[in-house]
């Protein structure tokens, strides 16, 4: 077994908002780690809603207020909490929502972090700083959502053949598949995934209603801007961009930021 679970104060995005896990048994370390994460990108989560997951037992009221204060400073609002009966009592006392017991730890996630990592291209420094720029826009994007959330099982896929040209918009509750290029100045907006069987040079917004598991896939991924759920990433300068991999690339959210990985056949 591992000595100390890495990332005790796990912070992850879900389709319902942020999920922040605190290992109450190592409270100070947890809080320190959370503080570090928040400080690394001070405005990144502004406007988000969060559920707190307490593993082992509930913290004391003062400890809780400490966490809440920290989250407040970063513009994160606590909606509710998950954990055992002690957490339920705490929730009652603080008049917050008790959402049930803590979800099981995802072993694969933890293993991934420790050992074998999927090969990936991290965002360059430039893109990272741009992502921070967009932080304020995240809540704006969330607020833009005006249509009701449609579960993906009910959604349909828009299939488009041809080049999507500057100024054209494809909008779909569901997925979008383009067989052709998407030019700069064109926009694809989908509540689900976006697949471009060609070169994506325009703007794509997948998971437009908040689904952080949505992906953008293209044979060549060179967008002016990429959005998944409420995260935004600017396209990289072509000069620093490496040659696209044969077989295409996929953009998805990992650890609360958009990463681009080559498509490896046979791996989901």
């Amino acid at each position: 077994m591992w000595q100390r679970p890495p990332h005790m104060a796990l912070l992850r995005g879900t389709s319902q908002g942020l999920q922040i896990t605190i290992a109450t048994g190592e409270f100070h370390d947890s809080v320190a780690e959370l503080a570090e994460t928040l400080q690394a990108q001070p405005d990144f989560y502004r406007g988000s809603l969060a559920h707190l997951v307490f593993r082992s037992t509930a913290p004391s009221v003062e400890e809780f207020q400490q966490i809440r204060g920290m989250l407040d400073q970063s513009g994160i609002t606590v909606e509710g909490m998950l954990g055992d009966e002690s957490v339920e009592s705490l929730a009652l006392e603080l008049e917050l929502e008790y959402l049930g017991s803590a979800p099981p730890i995802n072993i694969e996630d933890l293993q991934k972090r420790r050992g074998t990592r999927l090969e990936r291209q991290a965002l360059s420094e430039g893109a990272r700083s741009l992502t921070a720029d967009f932080a304020g826009a995240r809540s704006d994007l969330a607020a833009r959502r005006t249509t009701p959330v449609v579960p993906l099982t009910q959604a349909t896929t828009l299939y488009y053949r041809g080049t999507v040209r500057s100024g054209q918009v494809l909008r779909q509750l569901g997925n979008i598949v383009v067989v052709g290029d998407v030019n700069p100045g064109a926009e694809l907006i989908a509540s689900g995934d976006i697949v471009v069987f060609g070169t994506l040079r325009g703007q794509a917004h997948a998971g437009a209603q908040g689904d952080t598991a949505a992906r953008v896939t293209a044979i060549e991924l060179s967008p002016t801007q990429l959005r998944i759920a409420t995260l935004i990433a600017a396209g990289e300068q072509t000069a620093t961009r490496s040659k696209h991999r044969d077989g295409g690339e996929e953009a998805r959210i990992e650890e609360n930021r958009i990463v681009v990985v080559p498509i490896v056949r046979g791996v989901s």
């Binding site: 741009l130 826009a137 704006d140 500057s166 100024g167 054209q168 918009v169 002016t224 801007q225 935004i232």
Partner: protein
Amino acid sequence: MSGRRIVVTSGKGGVGKTTTTANLGAALAKRGRKVALVDADIGLRNLDLVLGVEKRIVFDLVEVVEGRCQIRQALIRDKRIENLWILPAAQTRDKDSITEAQFLRLTTDLAEFHDFVIIDCPAGIEHGFRNAVAGSQEAIVVTTPEVSAIRDADRVIGKIHERKMPMRLVINRIRPDMVKSGEMMSVEDVCEILSAELLGIVPDDEEVIDTTNRGEPIVLDSTKRLAAIYDKMARRLEGEIVEFTRLEEPSLFNRIIAGWRG
């Protein structure tokens, strides 16, 4: 405070409105003024490209006018020049998307917290032009020393005079060698035809195309002669009397060629 609202227009397309807006705006910002540049060319936006911010657009002017976001959310800060902000146009709409009254309200709001609001006008004299002019108090007319451009500038100047707006002229893409050989109109010719007060004379420069493609306004490089010229324009705009740069004598190369061609 109420900043000055200036439209940069021309009538004819392609004479350098956007380049002028970007560089003059940048020059003013470099002098410490708070500048907001507004792209009024809805549907054919280019100001964002010229300033290299196209990848950072989250909201645009139409969304501001339609109340879907605040102005501050749509303004993009230039990362290289302090005090310079850009409000991009929408690409997926067209110029019939907003009214003159809405545009006026927009620029007036911007003028509350900027010293200069400079509006990049679309080509033509239709709705887009009317919107841009409705939102302004002053005009800068850009022309090249070429018959079609001058005729269109003249039409536009007429419309500006109808609105009693103060106006100044920028003559763009002058080629001194061609003026000397009589193949191009001189500054004096142009000013006489248009009878307008001169704000600036900008020589033709091949580097401008490349800087546009790269999204780096030429004034970023203070060693370039064009940077000095735009700086002078900024100073004139603020009321200083500044001598016009003497566009250089034809270079040795040009003189050889001129002699060759007889």
